[in-house]
Amino acid sequence: MSDILLQLNNVTKSFADGNGTQTVLDDISLAVKAGEFVAIVGPSGSGKSTLLSIAGLLLSPDSGDVIIGGNTMLNSKSNIRTAFRRKHIGFIFQTHQLLPYLKTKDQLLLFQDKEYNDSVTANDLLEDLGILECANKYPANMSGGERQRVAIARAFINDPDIILADEPTASLDATRGRYVVELIRNQTKKRGKAALMVTHDERVLDLTDRVLHLTDGKLRSM
């Protein structure tokens, strides 16, 4: 599979900073293919989160294009981008960010857009991620690792084009963190998604296909 599902072309972003502007992303280009798992590392404040926000259509770049599954959505209205995110982008956050009042199966079923996609079933995902026995539990009754696995299931439930993971191991210990990244990798491969992960955790980089380093607004291969 060589289809490019996520493509950033010449993306630049700067923020006002005291007595000038600081260029956080400087003419960045990036392409991630179906089935490819890419990691972005870099020091704190290097703009990793900004890059992920732009790729996730949460933030508009000053210039450049973001193409997801062949669609350029940057110029759409915010409500259209919101609807697009639900179908085409799977997010995994630092902490699980599950809704505290929903049981696991409802986290998936109430989020699933059945008109758009019913090929992925909640049961299959829970089974793949080894958390079928958590289907009727609230987040408060699960371990950190289990919650993060439910969050992974939620990211995949609408069969999106790309998966964006923001420090998915930040709230977990080393063993569990590694296990969670393995699961992201396996699902990405199995379901043919383009996955982009921002991380500090160098111990999981061997699980990715490519590692990119973000320093001084530039992206370099390692």
Binding site: S49, N79, K87, Q97, Y101, L102
Partner: protein, 363 residues
């Protein structure tokens, strides 16, 4: 609705406390509502209960029956000209004494034709028409609490005229005073005893249905509701307390809006995440409106149950009279204003930037 129900059930403890507050507020509003109506009924019920639709008064009477004055012969004149049923009504405030007792009781006489449509139905004893006693009187049931019974003799204090108590009618009051229904004949005798020059005049004519083609020279045709509104003090009392009720309804509804807003602020990040993963404002607004509707409808229903249950057990003398129509309109107003007040939460959510879902202190 699925989200709303699950969230409310998950946070039961928190929401039950809020519900408790709302139920108490709504209960207070509904109870006041019943008191307003009850107090209002103490002023108007004797007119309200009459099946007359229109009254004719003298045009200088300012729509007040007690100061109106019409010539005696008018009833026959009018009967010739209209097909509507018509009868006479005189209203006179006096004092009564139970035979052998000194204590004077306030009474308002409604002097009527015993077999006319103005005659009250009775809850005990006989009506004026079917009584075989001389000088019969049918009293408001509040007189029962004064230890007066069917068969007693009571005396008009000023004239010494004796009445036979033949029956009791429910809820018959005028201007906070309990009513006694007497015949025109008794009334004329009392007036003549007090003032031998009493020339027979009448206060008002009452009609069933709207009379047509009448010569209204020196007279005025007045609707039943206008008669009620012009009873002294009625309008001022009614308006004041009604205004308090609506202020309370608005306050209770805003309480729910403010509570909900505080909880919304606490869930800022949660809404940010929901927006990031693709829930649009339409969906989020629907969740908010469903939750607020559920909370307010539930509070209104519980408060209604409490109030109606309580109205069944409060003492007879307490002026409490809650109309289902009033309870419904107050409850509906409460629910509607609650939903409107949830708008501040929706506006707050619309300003949440989904980008806060990404990154911790990275930027």
């Amino acid at each position: 609705m699925k989200f709303a129900l699950r969230e409310l059930l998950y946070g039961k403890k928190k929401y039950i406390l809020i519900e408790l507050l709302l139920v108490l507020l709504m209960f207070m509003v509904l109870f006041l509502c019943g008191l307003v109506e009850g107090l209002g009924r103490a002023v108007t019920s004797a007119i309200d209960n009459r099946v007359a639709d229109y009254y004719i008064l003298s045009d200088s009477a300012e729509k007040l029956i007690t100061v109106s004055e019409l010539p005696d012969g008018i009833i026959n004149e009018v009967r010739e000209k209209t097909n509507s049923e018509v009868t006479t009504l005189d209203i006179q405030r006096m004092y009564l004494q139970k035979q052998g007792e000194e204590r004077k009781l306030n009474v308002i006489y409604f002097a009527i034709d015993a077999n006319s449509f103005l005659a009250p139905s009775v809850i005990e004893g006989k009506t004026l028409e079917y009584s075989d006693k001389d000088n019969p009187i049918v009293l408001d049931d509040d007189f029962m609490a004064e230890d007066i019974h069917v068969g007693d003799i009571i005396i008009d204090s000023a004239s010494g005229f004796e009445f036979n108590v033949v029956g009791f009618a429910k809820d018959e009051m005028y201007g906070h005073v309990s009513v006694g229904f007497i015949t025109r004949d008794s009334y004329t005798q009392i007036r003549t005893r007090l003032n031998p020059q009493y020339g027979t005049t009448i206060h008002a004519l009452a009609f069933k249905g709207k009379p047509d083609d009448l010569d209204m020279d020196g007279k005025e045709l007045v609707k039943k509701q206008d008669i009620i509104d012009n009873i002294p003090s009625y309008r001022a009392e009614h308006l004041t307390i009604t205004m308090i009720i609506y202020v309370l309804v608005i306050v209770s509804a805003i309480v729910i809006g403010v509570f909900y807003y505080i909880m919304t602020i606490q869930k800022r990040r949660q809404f940010g995440v929901m927006k990031a993963v693709g829930f649009g404002m339409g969906k989020l607004s629907a969740i908010v409106v469903s939750e607020v509707s559920l909370l307010s409808v539930f509070a209104a229903v519980v408060a209604n149950i409490f109030t109606f249950a309580m109205s069944a057990v409060i003492p007879q003398k307490m002026p409490f009279h809650l109309l289902p129509a009033d309870a419904v309109s107050v409850s509906a107003g409460f629910v509607l204003i609650s939903i409107v007040s949830s708008l501040i939460s929706i506006i707050h959510i619309s300003r949440v930037d989904p980008i806060q879902a990404i990154g911790g202190n990275d930027e």
